[in-house]
Amino acid sequence: MMRLLSLLAALLVSGQAAAEDVTVRVTTPAGEPVAHAVVSLPGALPASPADVVHEMAQEDLRFDPFVLVVPQGAEVVFPNRDRVRHHVYSFARDNAFELELYGREQERSVVFDAQGNVPIGCNIHDNMIAYIRVVDTPHAVVTNADGVAVLEGVAAGPVTVWHPYANAENNRLVLDAPADGSTLDVTLDVHGRR
């Protein structure tokens, strides 16, 4: 309850700061919060990429984060923080890449030019999996552990909610934005890894 109140307070503060903020909360039909969902609204990308470093680290034989959302043309670095080496790859149609065995001292990065979903895995460690979502809008946020994503200063438009395991067409839902900046509750059915 305290958390909810503080969240509401934060929303009020941010509402005062920006013209249009959208808060989206994603839950399963059972009411569980859905993390790692990408919530996006349409918007124009700036001409030159922002100077932001996108990182898909490998640590403890896991990718971190599980879902990374990047704008089109962004470069993603794949730092290896494990003692073992990894062989990161993706067979995504337009963003396929393969970073053959490399250790923690070796820096690797990939530029994703095509928007779309890029499942990435490690050829050595079958259980390692992560998703990079390449979008053509600056307004895209991954839901936190509470299933909440806040988009600040967005223009009006349909809200797209994507999750790698969503039981929906192309793993996404497209919804109308809320009318007066209130919270959009999205119910998304997700499954486990196949």
Binding site: Y89, C122, D126, M128, R194
Partner: protein, 776 residues
């Protein structure tokens, strides 16, 4: 169940019981063997099922391992992810050949089967895909193009799920039979599957024949019999690749084959059972025969004994039956002895030990059976006055006398049958060609039987009379020949002879007598009997004032039957009472008629001596004669009083008091006791006609009659003279002072009509007739 023979009964019961036990034992053995055999086969099948399970699992793992390796190969994953079909197909081909799989394919994310040719329809793929999603390591039966396969599927992840790699080998009968070759028993295996409601299907066209092997729900069946009970069936549920399909592996084993090793044992059991049964049947029969044989012998002997034959049974051994036979023999001997004694008693006179009447009658029958009846004779030797002799010398000596006489007779006639036929007579039965021969023998006997015997050293006079009869005599007499001889003794005695031949004519016919009596009773009703009246002439009034009623019988067939012919018989047979009552009624009625015609006549009736002492008769007579005092006279002979004087006199006193006139009839012919003359309350005395008939010629008769009249008068009795046939007699009697005369001269007995007519004829001059007779 009822048996007619003990042997059958024992044999059937023994054999039945033994057979029952044998049958039970055989059934138990059969059941046990059958069960053990079934269990052995079932165990084998269960073991086989376990083996199959392992092989199945092994195959699944082998395929799974291969699929795992392939699905994780980076190059293969890249090929699948990028849908590099030729690469995928070549990789699948490579692996299929290496592991000898029948089918290998990949289902990609577009739902396309790569490397499977065209055996997979889109629908099948979707079905398989849907089923695979929920499984960890999917594997199981899949049906492709109508054939069953054992398949495994592994996901291809790159790293996201991009498809399934599927390996499969055919579950054709060949493949299954390879499996069953591992079994020690010749099993056959078939795979059945059921998708949805389609029912069970088999992988081969001959699956229909297998259908009856399956239970209702094959998957739940462990090991059991097929529906037609000709196979043992084990159904093993196996995994199916598709959720909507179930599959079972059915192992079957023909029962006949399963039981073949035990058949020899069964046959052995059966043979042993049959042999045992045969031995039991024969043994039971032998035992039963051993038991029943002596019993049958006993039964037959008992039958012979019942018929009176002498019999005995062999009684070997010491058992109960032998003892029974022994007892039976003893019983038979005792019965024979007793019978002999009884027969002896029955046929012998216990007093003298001589044969008795029955024995002699048997001898007569035997003799008559041997030849002509005319040649069979009986001689009866009757000791005269035996009762008196016995009274004099005692029973013992009189018996001895008979024994001595019999001994003498035996000396004369050694070959004849001799016996005591009555207390005082010895009978002899013999066969002779002529009666003369027998009479000669009789004469010899006469001499012997009239010679004194010596009893206790004292000579005792012996007199005997001999009667002879032939079997021919018995025909008309209705007696046995011995009885006829006895009658002949009586006839000889009557004739004052020492011996006589039986006189059938003199004896008459007793049966005829009886029929005469029934005829008489009928005649009374029919009016064949009537009364005739004979007048009595009253000397004092010179008129007819009384008469005697005499019974007459005019039989329509036999003609006139004299009173002497039926009155004595009526007395002997008891018919005299109704006859006398009838006479009484008739006389009273006739008296009434006479009175009506103007004649007051007293009627005398002859009353049998037997009736006088019978109170019943007196009662009925008094009843009938009430009011007729002095009008009826009862004529009674003195003999009536002799047998029972007190009773007779008392009854006569009753009659006299009632005014019945009593006349003593036939006086002078019998005992004519003066004592009775005094005591009988009579009013009249009738002098017997024997004294009156010759009154004219006999001086003695005249004296007797005169003195009798005087005696009667002096006792206050009136005198009736009977048998008055001449006028002279009438005159003499009148002179002697007789009161009444009766006889032909006075009037013959005539029926009532004639009697009335004669009375009327006299009425003009009552004295005329006797007087005129007297005068003439």
């Amino acid at each position: 169940m009822r048996f007619r023979s003990l042997r059958t009964k024992l044999a059937v019961i023994y054999a039945g019981l033994f057979a029952l036990v044998m049958l039970a034992a055989a059934a138990a053995s059969f059941y046990t063997v059958q069960r053990n055999a079934t269990r052995l086969v079932q165990d084998e099948m269960a073991a086989m099922a376990a083996v199959f399970d392992r092989i199945w699992a092994l195959n699944a793992r082998q395929m799974g391992d291969a699929a795992d390796i392939l699905s994780r190969d980076f190059g293969f994953r890249a090929a699948v992810a990028t849908r590099d079909v030729p690469t995928i197909e070549s990789a699948l081909d490579n692996l299929r050949q290496r592991f000898e799989f029948d089918i290998a394919f990949v289902i990609d994310q577009q739902g396309q089967a790569i490397g499977a040719g065209d055996i997979l329809s889109g629908e099948t793929i979707r079905l398989i895909e849907t089923s695979l999603e929920a499984r960890e390591t999917p594997g199981g039966v899949v049906v492709l193009d109508g054939s069953a396969f054992h398949a495994v599927a592994r996901p291809v992840r790159a790293p996201d799920h991009v498809g399934w790699v599927v390996f499969a080998y055919s579950l054709s009968s060949q493949g299954l039979n390879d499996l069953t070759e591992l079994s020690a028993i010749p099993l056959e295996a078939r795979l059945f599957w059921s998708a949805g409601d389609a029912g069970w299907q088999a992988s081969r066209s001959d699956g229909d024949d297998w259908r009856n092997l399956l239970g209702e729900t094959p998957g739940e069946q462990d090991v059991g019999y097929s529906l037609d009970r000709e196979h043992l069936v084990s159904a093993i549920a196996v995994d199916s690749l598709s959720d909507t399909m179930s599959a079972v592996l059915v192992l079957q084993y023909p029962v006949a084959q399963a039981m073949a090793p035990f058949r020899t044992m069964m046959l052995g059991l059966l043979a042993a059972g049959l042999a045992g049964l045969a031995i039991i049947l024969v043994g039971s029969w032998l035992i039963a025969r051993g038991l029943s044989r002596p019993l049958q012998a006993l039964e037959a002997a008992a039958g012979r004994l019942a018929k009176g034959e002498a019999t005995s049974v062999a009684a070997p051994g010491q058992d109960e039956i032998s003892r029974l036979a022994h007892s039976f023999n003893t019983m038979g001997e005792q019965i024979a002895a007793r019978e002999k004694r009884i027969t002896h008693l029955a046929l012998h006179d216990p007093e003298t030990g001589l044969a008795n009447l029955q024995a002699l009658e048997q001898a007569v029958r035997d003799l008559s059976d041997q030849g002509e009846a005319e040649q069979v004779f009986a001689i009866a030797v009757g000791i005269d006055r035996f009762h008196q002799v016995r009274g004099a010398i005692g029973f013992a000596l009189s018996s001895q006398m008979i024994v001595d006489l019999a001994a003498r007779l035996e000396q004369v006639c050694p070959d004849v049958c001799l016996g005591r036929v009555a207390t005082d007579s010895i009978g002899l039965v013999l066969r002779a060609e002529h009666a003369a021969t027998v009479e000669a023998v009789a004469r010899q006997i006469v001499d012997l039987a009239n010679t004194p015997v010596t009893l206790r050293d004292e000579p005792v006079d012996l007199h005997a009379t001999i009667g002879i009869a032939s079997l021919a005599d018995t025909r008309q007499a209705g007696l046995t020949v011995i009885e006829c001889a006895g009658v002949a003794i009586d006839q000889a005695r009557q004739a004052q002879q020492r011996f006589a031949r039986f006189d059938g004519t003199a004896y008459g016919d007793p049966t005829r007598k009886l029929s005469l009596m029934s005829r008489m009773s009928a005649g009374l009703s029919a009016g064949d009997l009537y009364l005739s009246y004979q007048p009595k002439y009253d000397f004092r009034t010179r008129s007819i004032r009384s008469c005697e009623a005499l019974i007459r019988w005019e039989d329509p067939e036999r003609g006139f039957i004299g009173p002497d012919d039926f009155i004595p018989m009526a007395e002997e047979t008891g018919h005299i009472l109704p006859l006398t009552e009838w006479v009484l009624d008739r006389a009273i009625a006739d008296q009434v008629r006479l009175k009506a015609a103007g004649f007051d006549i007293q009627i005398a009736i002859n009353i049998s001596g037997r009736l006088i002492s019978d109170p019943r008769f007196i009662d009925t007579a008094l009843d009938r004669l009430r009011g007729r005092a002095g009008r009826i006279c009862f004529e009674i002979t003195e003999t009536a009083v002799i047998d029972n004087p007190d009773q007779a006199l008392a009854q006569m006193e009753r009659l006299r008091e009632a005014g019945i006139v009593i006349a003593i009839d036939d006086y002078g012919s019998g005992l004519s006791s003066l004592a009775y003359l005094r005591s009988i309350p009579a009013e009249e005395l009738k002098i017997d006609k024997a004294f009156v008939l010759n009154l004219d010629e006999s001086r003695e008769d005249r004296l007797l009659v005169k003195s009798t009249i005087d005696l009667a008068h002096s006792l206050g009795l009136k005198v009736v003279a009977e048998g008055v046939e001449t006028a002279e007699s009438v005159a003499v009697l009148a002179g002697m002072g007789a009161d009444y005369a009766q006889g032909y001269h006075i009037g013959r007995p005539v029926p009532l009509g004639d009697f009335l007519a004669s009375l009327k004829g006299r009425s003009g001059d009552p004295d005329q007739r006797p007087a005129s007779r007297a005068a003439s």
